[in-house]
Subunit: 465 residues, 4 copies
């Protein structure tokens, strides 16, 4: 669509978008996300169309085979060069295929299809392929790492924090199982949404006008042709597939990005100088700061958060692209080209998270130290609960007052409670376990261990890892 | 949380947000979406907790019954007044319940729960209740109206438009079946997402610390207590339910809003003076414009689009609220209070759409007139296809050139084709149906009728309407 | 526009949006932001129009006076009741005015104007009035508080943090002067943007069609009439004022909200249990947590951040509303009604910030303690710099290696440097001030004090406070 | 920061982001927006720093000259290769410079600066340079084209449209002058915002800690060093420049993008088959649709709108990046790298708009035809106004009733008015001009011509074009 005189070959540093010079995917991911892949997948759809036409007797098998072969040979360079003349991307693709086949096969290239049948179907196919072949395996890798971390530290004591304030003890494994669960849930969502991506072969306005000229039951033909590619047809289509399949897929990805952004934030804060419970692994050649050589910054986690901030607002574009006038306007065309970039950024963030979580330095000693700092205060909650469960009518307020007294006088809350005459009748009823928790608040971790185990087992099974 | 000296009773016009003075819900919707309902649902959860404590032998049945009764009597006024003193919303609620019961029941109010157990569970319950009782019935009502409209006009000819340009003929029923399908799909999504909303009773940091003091298996207890309310527990929770259930629900609503915004846009444009295919019904007392009395503006559809623009970006808030530090920070608290407003706006838009779609004026004659305007050109596509299907190696380009000639000379394309010697051998092969379409392009509607019927049947069955 | 059967009077808790039941403005702010004010300001514009018509000889002075009087008496209740019949807001307003005047004055009500002339001008006027009368004074109040805090603590030592890691020392006053500067800059921006809000009186499509029927130079008339209200006309208008004046105003507000959200975040984190450098003031009756009585949560700062998250994404709506088809579509009408809510939330956040910053508990001792924790490491930076400034060719790397050695051996970095033979020739060149900093890194605060003073002085002068 | 094994040289079609394979800038724009430029500008800042150090006597002039020369030679390839070892971008840059100079010059490279002093200042410089050298000239080019178009068609009659409905006549030049004004206003804004971009040289936490070790008045030194680059210092900085300068710049660009998106929408709709008032120029080799050869789609305008939808939501990232914890977290680093892409997209859209506006096909005849379609109804507004201005107490309602009668009976409204006995006394008072408008409503264009001229003259002068 765009005329561009720029040379086709140039260096990485002449690129503008960081996904093309810095946060680049590698290997199969790079292949599938590139512009090259867009065209390769369009060629796959053209080939499948010819194959289906042959199957339905519209096109000689030989012609379909010729087209299939040609589709393997067309290059993006050819297509873009042709587009500078035609100003139309799919017509250019078709011309390139036609040049590689005999006159007798030519009429059957793209026959009955509209450009968007090819483009939209190709993108669904590519997205699904990328998700299944590249993304999900990486997601499962990270999930596995999280499960390992969670189980490894299921007994490692940590102070829980709400509002940034010390609350009551948990274990670090329990804390990590939050992400096992949330990320596991998102992996399920991504898999489900990717499996719902659809194709179409319904013609210029979705009513099969063209195909019905040459095929008796074009609705059945659409299903047949898409089945070759392993796709289901959109329940309805105009010139485009119903956008909501893509919206749900995007939501599943963006919200999964949100989960790892949250994890990155948690780890950044746990790495604060004063908290120091975890740390990113730091290689010896690495420079922490150009002028403060002693610093150990959580920059990989910061980077993940930053990539999230660059990606998440793109969801607005996805929502805006739901709206297309009548049987279609083209205002969702350029914008939808940015989808691959968001996937590249998400993949990059997932791999980076996996790498740095795998090597996470967990300072169990410092975790213990942080618990100890507020140990005395932690027992306020169990004290109030035990008193209440033994029938004290106003336990919450009573303990709150003793807490204030403890802060003023410096006397431990435990002592104030055990020496309080008004509480004596309740204190007598304390069970052994209850007394133990009051003596050693570090035991007040509730069902942390059990829950961490349960969550890890649930998601291992659910995701088959 | 907020101290506010403003009088509790005041007029509608002293409100600031249009949902409270202009786009107000009515009846049950108004009840369920109001601040009053927030507190009523919190009271329902406190009552269920007491009931579960009794069932598990922690609390006397009599106390649970007392608490249950008290929960029916507490008013928002009381709770807000109490909050001005305590500065804590749930503590205020608890105090209000306690005031209405005997000393022996007091210890069991809120026992083992944290504020957010009550608040988060109450909101899930309320959202689900609103969705099932109010929203889905309205959505189905609109879906029914769309199906009726689609079937009524399954044979009504309309020119399809892509890029705002006349393309090929369809039927208006086919065009409307796009929305039957997309909106049907979203209703499914909303129902599914609402059914996934969860509760929690896992204490201050999600590890059941408190509950494990008084209950042996607090994880099982959580499931039991929530079952009273018909909710499942979140797979994992910290101080808050995993946010992703809510994210998916919000996405289902916002994307459904996108579908009706798209429909509103389509209808706005079809009502343009030059197009004039549909019109909003216009009452005789109504004023179209304060200075142009002849105007008939599509303002209800404009209003729907506008409410969409006010609502859709709120999804960013939902995504931002996925991120909460450690076991929770409170920065998602105030922001989550705006959820009900978005639902109110969506409901308002759905009802308005239903009202004006139900009474939509469809000008079949003008639709026909618009088709006729480009009738001659429409046949370019079928001509190219028929030629190609009969083996013409370059049909697309050939027809394109004839089209240009037709535009220059004014001669009908049909004539140019039939009198073209080079095409004679192909023209001979035209089938009867193919010839008919070329003679009357209005017949070139593909599978419009069949597809409209199929889509309507599919969603009727799928949604049980 | 909306028909609504709901009773006009109802309780605060029947409202849906928190700005109408919880985060409510008071006094003059409540008046100016309410729906009531919208109508009052529209009446002001109708009155000004009549006055201008009289001045230009189109309308008898007596009629203008009658209209002016009537405009003071019309109530929102009347206008909304009338709208249920006419379905048109401004026509209803006009009808209400007309009912209160003599037949001879009637022709001159709204004469030559289109609805949007009145509505758009009224909103510009109201926004400007609100900004000047209510918002800016509150902003200046907060700016003053920030200046006071900054100057009070210009010498209070604090460790600076980048990446959440201890960096080098600053003073708390310097840290706060960041917000003096950024917030001061935003106040300037808000004032500037508000002063640019414009009016219009250019008729139904902006070309003065109507007015040119009755007035010779309608462009000059527009300027005259708006001057009565103290507004300039939009450089160009269609049915609506150029949206960009409003966009810039919204950007100035949203970005100012971002500054206080940032401040809220900083303070939240400084209040973390482990950091404990500041604290929100806490009243004795207040409940910190319903089950953890010892907690002191920074919830006012959390609330401010949360309101920001609810407000910031609305900017997307503002950008979307820039786009209006041809001389105007109405899809920016409902959405623009939410502007007042965002202002209410911003005002609420500013006042809350001012209240809690004014009473901020600053724990200077703990600030000192935090500096001391990494004191030894802080000197790495000045050491590297001093060595480099005295000509060491590789100071950065050299100090980095010594730092690692210090961490391994536990020997203070200072000692390692002073006993290193290879560094002896450089160490000799250290100035007295340089030595002092190495001996007491707490002195390594650079120009903290001077900069804090300078910034406070600059903004005091710039803003006239 | 990112390790990447991917080969540095690869083809355009291996890129992922469309700005790097499809919507690519050319020439100077490509240079300035590329990653290469980022590094070149950082080298410029390092050179300026050395120069300033020499000026202030800290560094020998010879050393500064050596550094300046070296800065011209360092390549991005070197810096990225070095970063794979150091994992730190600016330290790598510094190492690369150091390798190119003598030992005696080495200590003065980067002396006293922190990485962000270099990076942030370099980006401000680059953004300003790009804006002044590339962007503004292109903006002015488009503005000129718009002025030419507006003046050329200042008398070309067009029907104005509100709500998509025919309203009253204007001229096409008046319609275009809307964009002259709005776009002119945005150009002013962009220039103003770019001139406000600032630099910093305030060290790791903004308090000049490092620089104050080696320079007496580091605040003055900062101003001096930045003056070499033509920049002013940020009023305050931490490790980063106050973000609000960048926010305002981004807002100016995004809102300018909104203006051309609006223009694109208007032109798309005016090109609708039924309206057909304008058309994109269409080359003869171009393919309109792969299966509908007769179509003439407004795809360049669609493309512009689509690029806007991809770009506008990025503003959310800009706002999110306002928030940085304490003296800085790094979560704005990766995200800020996407700024250049948005500028590339905006530039692409501006150039495309200019190209297609310059060659816009305006169908004056069809514009006239569209006016004529509703000619009779147009006079309702002037009739009501004339009657009112002559004292009719209820002209609006009266004309509305006659309009309805006209629609029912088919009698022209004009006749109904002139034959209405109740109106006779008013009709007598009609002036000659008033009668003329009633006889020929096409004359009812108000001040269209005058306003178009005035607006064009104003912006020509304001922008010096």
């Amino acid at each position: 669509m765009a005329k561009n005189n720029k040379n086709n070959n140039f260096g990485r540093f002449e690129n503008i978008n960081p996904v093309d010079y810095r946060y680049q995917p590698e290997g199969r991911a790079a292949e599938l996300l590139s512009e090259k892949a867009r065209i390769i997948y369009q060629l796959k759809v053209e080939a499948a169309l010819a194959q289906a036409l042959a199957k339905h007797g519209v096109c000689p098998r030989r012609a379909a085979a010729e087209i299939g072969e040609a589709c393997k040979k067309v290059t993006p360079q050819e297509v873009y060069a042709e587009e500078e003349i035609t100003q139309h991307d799919i017509r250019s693709l078709v011309n390139c295929i036609r040049r590689k086949i005999s006159d007798s096969a030519k009429p059957y290239v793209h026959l009955g299809a509209t450009s968007e049948d090819i483009k939209q179907t190709a993108e669904s196919l590519r997205l699904r392929q990328f998700t299944q072949e590249v993304l999900v395996p990486e997601l499962l890798q990270l999930e596995k790492t999280l499960i390992t971390l969670s189980l490894k530290h299921k007994n490692t004591l940590q102070i829980a924090r709400t509002h940034g304030q010390h609350a009551v003890p948990i274990t670090f494994g329990f804390a990590m199982s939050e992400y096992v669960s949330r990320f596991g849930n998102r992996i399920s969502g991504i898999k489900q949404a990717a499996s719902q991506l659809r194709g179409q072969l319904s013609g210029a306005v979705g009513a099969y006008n063209a195909m019905s000229i040459i095929i008796k039951d074009p609705i059945a033909f659409e299903a047949d042709a898409l089945a070759i590619l392993g796709l289901n047809p959109s329940t309805h289509s105009t010139q485009i597939i119903e956008p909501e399949y893509g919206v749900d897929f995007a939501n599943s990805v963006i919200s999964a990005f949100g989960v790892i952004a949250n994890l990155a934030d948690d780890l950044r804060h746990l790495q604060r100088s004063e908290i120091a419970e975890v740390a990113e692994k730091f290689s010896s050649a690495q420079v922490g700061s150009s002028t403060m050589p002693h610093k150990r910054n959580p920059w990989h986690f910061e980077n993940i958060k930053s990539l999230y901030k660059a990606s998440m607002p793109r969801m607005i574009t996805v929502y805006l692209d739901q709206i297309s006038e009548h049987q279609r306007d083209l205002t969702n065309s350029a914008s939808s080209r940015f989808t691959m970039e968001v996937l590249a950024l998400f993949l990059f963030a997932v791999k980076r998270m996996n790498k740095y979580i795998s090597a996470l330095v967990v300072d169990e000693e410092h975790m213990k130290k942080n618990i100890d700092a507020n140990k005395e205060m932690i027992i306020a909650e169990p004290l109030y609960l035990i008193l209440a469960s033994h029938g004290h009518p106003d336990a919450h307020e009573y303990i709150k007052q003793l807490t204030l007294e403890s802060q003023k006088t410096g006397k431990p809350l435990r002592e104030l409670v055990f020496s309080d005459k008004k509480l004596a009748s309740y204190v007598k009823k304390f069970s052994k376990e209850q007394e133990e928790i009051i003596r050693d608040p570090a035991k007040y971790t509730g069902a942390s261990v059990q829950k961490a185990e349960q969550v890890c087992a649930y998601w291992s099974k659910e995701l088959g890892i």
